[in-house]
C-alpha cells in the first residue's frame, strides 16, 4: 500500500501537525519508503496467531483504591506556557 498527497494531508491533520504544501511531496516519499519496507510482513503466515498484548506474562497490577497523591496544583501548572491561577489558558473553544 502507498499513500497519495491527500492521504498525507489527512494523516498530518489526524496527528495535529501543520504541514505546508511544500512539505507534502517529501513526506509522501518518506512515508511510502517506510510502508514499502513493512510490506514484507504480508508474507508471514499469521493464521491462528494471537497478537501480543504483553511481552512478559504478568498480572495487571491494581492500585489500592485510596487517595495518596494530590494537592500539587502548583507543580502541575509550573511548566505551562500560559496559565491563570491554577488553570491552563487556551484559545476560546466554545462559541
Amino acid at each position: 500500500m502507498s499513500v497519495d498527497a491527500a492521504t498525507v494531508r489527512r494523516i498530518a491533520h489526524l496527528a495535529r501537525i501543520a504541514v505546508s504544501e511544500d512539505d507534502v511531496p517529501h513526506l509522501q516519499g518518506e512515508l511510502n519508503a517506510m510502508l514499502a519496507f513493512v510490506e514484507q510482513l504480508s508474507e508471514v503466515d499469521v493464521a491462528g496467531v494471537e497478537p501480543m498484548t504483553s511481552v512478559t506474562p504478568m498480572q495487571m497490577k491494581k492500585r489500592a483504591d485510596l487517595v495518596n497523591d494530590g494537592e500539587i496544583a502548583d507543580d502541575i501548572v509550573a511548566n505551562a506556557p500560559a496559565t491563570e491561577g491554577h488553570f491552563f489558558l487556551v484559545p476560546k473553544v466554545v462559541e
Binding site: M1, V3, T7, V8, I11, A12, H13, L14, A15, R16, I17, A18, V19, L27, E30, L31, A33, M34, L35, F37, V38, E39, Q40, L41, S42, V44, V46, V49, E50, P51, M52, T53, S54, V55, T56, M58, M60, K61, R63, I72, D75, A78, N79, A80, P81, A82, F88, V90, P91, K92, V93
Partner: protein, 491 residues
C-alpha cells in the same frame, strides 16, 4: 596521582573506600574533562554546582562509613530521564525549558545509592534515531575516528551522548534507554559496555515515553563489572510503573567471574546476512571461539522470523509513539505556537516543536492505527511479534542459555552519511538489536575488536528473561579475551 578519569567505576570505588582520593576530587576531574570536551557535544547541560554538592555529601557519608554502593561516583544522565529541578527536554524543541518537579525512579535510585550527577546527556530527539543526529541540540561526536582521518563520526543512537561521554572518560557511567537498540548500538560504536535489561526490570516512571511496550532503561559503562554495579542500583520494582516486575534484583556483580563451563550458546543462522562485512563475520567467530575455550558449548540455532522484526518494529514503535507524543499539545508544558483556534494551536505547536524524524514516525504511527488500516498493519505486526518471541522461547526450551550475535552490521559512520534520502537506510542499524526489544529479552553489547580502519566493533549476547546474570558472566569472558579499548584523545 594517576588521572582519576581513567579509572573504572570498580577501581574508583576502591580508591574512595581507601581514601586515596575524595569524591570531590573525582568529580572535579570529570567536570574538567567535560569542559575540555565540549567539541563532542555529549553533555547538553552541565550541573557542576549540584555535582560538587552531591560529592561533598558523599564524602561525608563515606567518612562515616555509610556510603551506598555507588557513593561518590560521578555519572551522566541521558536527557530522557526526568531530573527534579534540572531541565529535561528529551532533546526536543517541543519540551523547551521543561523543568520537572519530580525525579525518575531510576535516577532517584542512583542518588539513593550515593551517585553524583554531572549533567544531562545528548540523545536523538525522543530517542528516535540511531546516530544521535536528530537531537535539537545538534549531533554528538564519537571519540573514535578512523585511523589517519579527522572526519567526525556518529556515536550511534539514540543514547549517543551517554556512549560518547563514557568512551571519552567524561563520566564513570551513564544512564541510557533502549527501544530498538539505543543502548547496545552506541555501546558497540564507542567500545563501551551497554546492557538492555529484561522488559520490566527497570521502572519506566519518569522517563520520557517513546514506545512503552519496548522502552527499557539500562547503563552504559566502561566495563562489564561497572555495568553490573550500575544496573543493580537502577533495577527494581516500582509500584508507579505497572509493567515493572516485582522480583528481587540479584547482586549482578557476583556473576562476574563465574564459570561459563557447560553453558550452551546459540549461534542463530538467520543473523548471517548477505553482504555482511567479512570483519563482522570474523569478530563473531572470534567471540564464539573465546566462549568455547572458556568451556561453553556452541550450537547453531534458528530464529526463523528474525527478518520480520525490524519491519514489525517500524509499525509497533511509531504506533505507540504517536499515542505517547499526543501529550505535547502546547497547553500543559513546553513550546506553544499561537493559532486562531485550539486545533491550529496544536498543529502549529507540533509542526514547530517536532523535528523531521519525529514527525515522520508520529505520522506513520497515526496512519497504521487509523480506521481501515489497523488490522492490516498494527494487528498483523503484533501477531508477528508473538512469532518472534516464540522463536526465542523455542530456542531457550532446547537448553540454550544465551545467544551470541554481532551487535551492529557495521562500525560507526560519518555525520550526514546515512538516511538522507531513505529513512530505512538508517533503520537497518538496529537489525541485530531490535529482535530483543520485540521479545522483551535482556541483551548486552560488549566491545570485542576493531575493524580495518581502527573503529570498535561489538558483540551482543541475548539472554533468557530476567537472566541478566548469565550475560554478565559471558560478557566478561569476551571482555577478558578482547581487552579494553580506549580512543586516542583529539578533542
Amino acid at each position: 596521582m594517576t588521572d582519576l578519569t581513567s579509572l573504572t567505576l570498580a577501581e574508583a570505588r576502591k580508591g574512595l573506600a581507601a581514601k586515596t582520593f575524595t569524591s570531590l576530587e573525582l568529580t572535579d576531574a570529570h567536570l574538567s574533562a567535560i569542559e575540555a570536551a565540549r567539541a563532542l557535544n555529549a553533555f547538553i547541560l552541565e550541573t557542576p554546582d549540584q555535582a560538587r554538592a552531591m560529592a561533598r555529601e558523599a564524602d561525608i557519608k563515606i567518612g562515616k562509613g555509610d556510603g551506598g554502593p555507588l557513593a561518590g561516583i560521578p555519572l551522566g544522565i541521558k536527557d530522557l530521564f526526568a531530573t527534579r529541578g534540572v531541565r529535561t527536554t528529551a532533546c526536543s524543541k517541543i519540551l523547551g525549558n521543561f523543568v520537572p518537579t519530580y525525579e525518575s525512579t531510576v535516577t532517584s535510585q542512583l542518588w539513593r545509592d550515593g551517585a553524583v550527577m554531572l549533567g544531562k546527556l545528548n540523545n536523538d530527539e525522543f530517542a528516535m534515531g540511531s546516530s544521535n543526529e536528530t537531537s535539537c541540540f545538534g549531533p554528538v561526536g564519537n571519540p573514535w575516528r578512523r585511523e589517519g582521518s579527522n572526519t567526525t563520526l556518529v556515536p550511534g543512537g539514540s543514547s549517543g551522548g551517554s556512549a560518547s561521554a563514557v568512551a571519552a572518560l567524561l563520566c564513570m557511567g551513564a544512564t541510557a534507554t533502549d527501544t530498538g537498540g539505543s543502548i547496545r548500538q552506541p555501546a558497540a560504536f564507542t567500545a563501551t559496555v551497554g546492557i538492555k535489561p529484561t522488559y520490566g526490570r527497570c521502572s519506566r516512571w519518569g522517563i520520557v515515553a517513546f514506545a512503552s511496550s519496548l522502552d527499557q532503561a539500562g547503563p552504559i559503562a566502561r566495563s562489564v563489572r561497572d555495568a553490573a554495579m550500575l544496573l543493580r542500583s537502577m533495577a527494581g520494582h516500582d509500584p508507579k510503573d505497572t509493567t515493572s516486575v516485582d522480583i528481587a534484583v540479584p547482586d549482578y556483580e557476583a556473576a562476574i567471574g563465574k564459570s561459563v563451563k557447560g553453558m550452551r550458546i546459540g549461534i542463530p543462522k538467520e543473523y548471517r546476512l548477505d553482504g555482511m562485512p567479512a570483519e563482522i563475520e570474523k569478530l563473531w567467530e572470534a567471540g564464539a571461539a573465546w566462549l568455547r575455550s572458556a568451556g561453553a558449548e556452541l550450537v547453531e540455532v534458528s530464529l526463523p522470523h528474525t527478518k520480520y522484526a525490524l519491519p514489525a518494529y517500524y509499525i509497533v514503535a511509531p504506533a505507540e509513539a504517536s499515542s505517547n507524543l499526543a501529550r505535547y499539545d502546547g497547553v500543559r508544558y513546553g513550546l506553544r505556537e499561537q493559532g486562531r483556534n485550539i486545533t491550529e494551536l496544536y498543529e502549529n505547536t507540533r509542526a514547530e516543536g517536532f523535528g523531521a524524524e519525529v514527525k515522520r514516525r508520529v505520522m506513520i504511527g497515526t496512519y497504521v492505527l487509523s480506521a481501515g488500516y489497523y488490522d492490516a498493519y498494527y494487528l498483523r505486526a503484533q501477531k508477528v511479534r508473538t512469532l518472534i518471541k516464540k522463536d526465542f522461547e523455542d530456542c531457550f526450551a532446547k537448553g540454550v542459555d544465551a545467544i551470541l550475535t554481532p551487535a551492529t552490521p557495521s562500525a560507526a559512520f560519518g555525520i550526514g552519511e546515512k538516511g538522507g534520502a531513505d529513512p530505512v537506510e538508517m533503520y537497518l542499524n538496529d537489525i541485530f538489536t531490535v529482535t530483543v526489544n520485540m521479545a522483551g529479552l535482556p541483551g548486552i553489547a560488549v566491545p570485542a575488536g576493531k575493524d580495518a580502519q581502527g573503529l570498535p566493533l561489538g558483540l551482543q549476547l541475548i539472554g533468557r528473561p530476567f537472566d541478566e546474570e548469565t550475560l554478565f558472566s559471558l560478557g566478561e569472558v569476551i571482555e577478558q579475551a578482547a581487552g579494553r579499548f580506549t580512543p586516542e584523545r583529539w578533542w
